[in-house]
């Protein structure tokens, strides 16, 4: 830590650091994207080199995965699987949002709801819910419904818990502002609590993306082998490691894309948040 109260006295170390900064240095002048790309190329090259020298049953390498991926794109298998996974994923995700957001608002806004329901949300968030999958299979069978159920149960808790935190954190004075103008409970909820909570809701939705993707893959492992999860497990069982990596790459891309999409949406619906964090309110 720098001691800002100390008198300005330059030490040799500071002088040499200042010189380095002035000269710029090699690392400082290269754009970030170039460094990232270089790093990626290095890792892929190392993987390619060592991957080729390992028994293809135990590992694969980038070029083999790429070749397999092209083949699966051409015969349409990967798109078919993606669509099969996306349907329950989207249904479960939206169901989780439709339940989790109102639930979080209710618990964050009303003391009785927090006392009565908060404990279940906390417990649900902490419990490894994949452990309940056998039970879900008993209830919902092995088809579409069970996948939707698994996705929504895993996604609902991060959404609810973040919305809860946001609604609870609405400044008391803003609620008082609403009361000053004789606002109804409904007006206070829609015009003060919800807009104020939006950034937290978006954080919950972002976390839920990752959880949903884990949920759908696990659901496909445990139930009917369909979708991307199905390909992974079947390829794994037949020691086709290169083929196994293709859906993994697709899932990774899907996760990054969806998270980015929610982030973009966040900036659209709550643009003041970023500006607020730039300066102390």
């Amino acid at each position: 830590m720098l001691d800002t109260t100390a008198p300005a006295k330059t030490t040799p170390a500071m002088q040499s650091r200042a010189k380095r900064v002035r000269r710029g240095g090699f690392a400082a002048s290269v754009p970030r994207a170039a460094i990232s790309t270089f790093s990626l190329i290095c890792v892929l090259a190392i993987w390619e080199f060592f991957g080729r020298n390992v028994n293809p049953i135990f590992a694969s390498h980038p070029s083999a995965i790429f070749k397999e991926g092209i083949a699966m794109v051409i015969d349409g298998e990967i798109f078919h699987a993606l669509l099969q996974s996306l349907q329950p994923l989207a249904t479960g995700y939206f169901l989780a949002a439709a339940v989790g957001i109102p639930l979080g608002l209710l618990i964050g806004r009303y003391r009785w709801a927090e006392a009565g329901l908060g404990v279940y949300i906390t417990a649900g968030y902490a419990t490894p819910l994949v452990a309940l999958i056998p039970l879900f299979i008993l209830w919902f069978g092995l088809g579409f419904a069970v996948k939707v159920a698994i996705v929504s149960v895993l996604a609902v808790f991060p959404i609810a818990i973040n919305t809860w935190a946001g609604a609870k954190g609405v400044p008391r004075t803003l609620i008082e502002l609403g009361r000053t103008f004789v606002g109804s409970e409904f007006q206070i909820m829609t015009k003060i609590v919800i807009p104020s909570t939006l950034p937290y809701i978006m954080v919950g939705l972002k976390l839920a993306v990752g959880r949903s993707i884990i949920a759908i893959v696990v659901a496909e492992f445990f139930t009917l082998l369909t979708g991307l999860g199905g390909i992974i497990l079947k390829a794994g069982d037949s020691f086709d490691t290169a083929r196994m990596f293709v859906p993994v790459m697709v899932l990774m891309t899907l996760g990054i894309t969806l998270t980015w999409l929610v982030g973009w949406l966040e900036h659209k619906v709550a643009p003041w948040q970023r500006e607020l964090s730039d300066q102390e309110h």
């Binding site: 400044p171 004075t173 803003l174 008082e176 502002l177 609403g178 009361r179 000053t180 103008f181 004789v182 606002g183 007006q187 015009k191 003060i192 807009p195 104020s196 939006l198 709550a270 003041w272 500006e275 607020l276 300066q279 309110h281």
Partner: protein, 278 residues
């Protein structure tokens, strides 16, 4: 001109704001050794139509609590508040509030914030936009209508807060240390502006402050609270209106005399022994 108090009282017979024997108790601490705190111990005062009254005193003396009870955000343990003869419980459009930190909604532009009260009141969109534009212009912020709160300075935020409070045309304007967080120069600007606005609108104002200069400069009367939640003295400030020259007022004998008087009162209520020395 304003504050011909006696004449108005004769005309209507009832003050704009009448506060009678307010007491406020609340409990603190854990269950088994809960303690009663007496925030207010019988606060009574009247405010006449068009009058500007400041409440001042040390922190925790009950000035803000009194204001919040008049506003209706807090409930008194006993006592009554009447606005123009009507006993009030809870908030109403007859009172407008300017908060200490403006309390603008960060997702709304300045004009949308000014509209907020009318929106809750159920005024239709074109009407409330029309009023909001007029009010924003009135506080000198017509140019900044589309800025968001983070793009406004502290003084501008308070102007927006003031415009918002005025939109519903309240009978009484309540202000809770609205300039306390501003730096000295802006604060003086805002004080001058508020004097003008008060003298133009003839609103009845109750203004909480711990800044003695501010209290004397703005008010017709200053209610000095003792630390025990009571009004120690009701000091009238006989500086004529319009108060168009704050610099001259600050230099006037009346200003100096009343400021010193109130300062001494505060010292005295704080610690009588110390007051004997000054």
């Amino acid at each position: 001109m304003p504050a011909t108090t006696e004449k108005l009282a004769l005309t209507f017979g009832i003050p704009k704001v009448r506060v009678r024997d307010l007491a406020k108790e609340y409990y603190v601490g854990p269950g088994h050794r809960m303690q009663v705190v007496h925030a207010l111990n019988g606060v009574s005062f009247d405010v006449e139509e068009g009058e500007f009254v400041a409440l001042t005193g040390r922190s925790g003396c009950g000035k803000t609590t009194s204001l919040r009870i008049v506003l209706g955000l807090e409930e008194q343990t006993s006592g009554a508040v009447e606005i123009a003869g009507r006993e009030v419980n809870g908030c109403g459009y007859d009172r407008g509030m300017v908060f200490q930190h403006a309390e603008l909604l960060p997702w709304r532009t300045a004009i949308e914030n000014v509209e907020f009260g009318l929106e809750l009141k159920g005024v239709n969109k074109s009407e409330r936009r029309r009023i909001a534009i007029r009010m924003l212009d009135f506080v000198g912020l017509a140019q900044s209508a589309d800025r968001r709160p983070y793009q406004l300075s502290g003084g501008m935020k308070q102007r927006v807060g003031l415009a918002r409070a005025l939109t519903t045309d309240p009978e009484v304007l309540l202000m809770d240390e609205p300039f306390g967080a501003l730096d000295a120069q802006i604060r003086e600007e805002m004080q001058t502006e508020l004097i003008k606005i008060h003298e133009k609108t003839l609103k009845t104002v109750i203004f909480v402050t711990h800044d003695l200069d501010e209290a004397v400069l703005l008010s017709d009367r200053v209610l000095v609270f003792s630390p025990h939640g009571q009004i120690h003295e009701d000091v009238s400030i006989n500086i004529p209106r319009p108060r168009s020259d704050p610099i001259a007022i600050r230099g006037s004998d009346e200003f100096q005399k009343k400021r010193y008087h109130i300062w001494r009162l505060l010292k005295m209520t704080d610690d009588p022994a110390k007051a004997a020395l000054v």
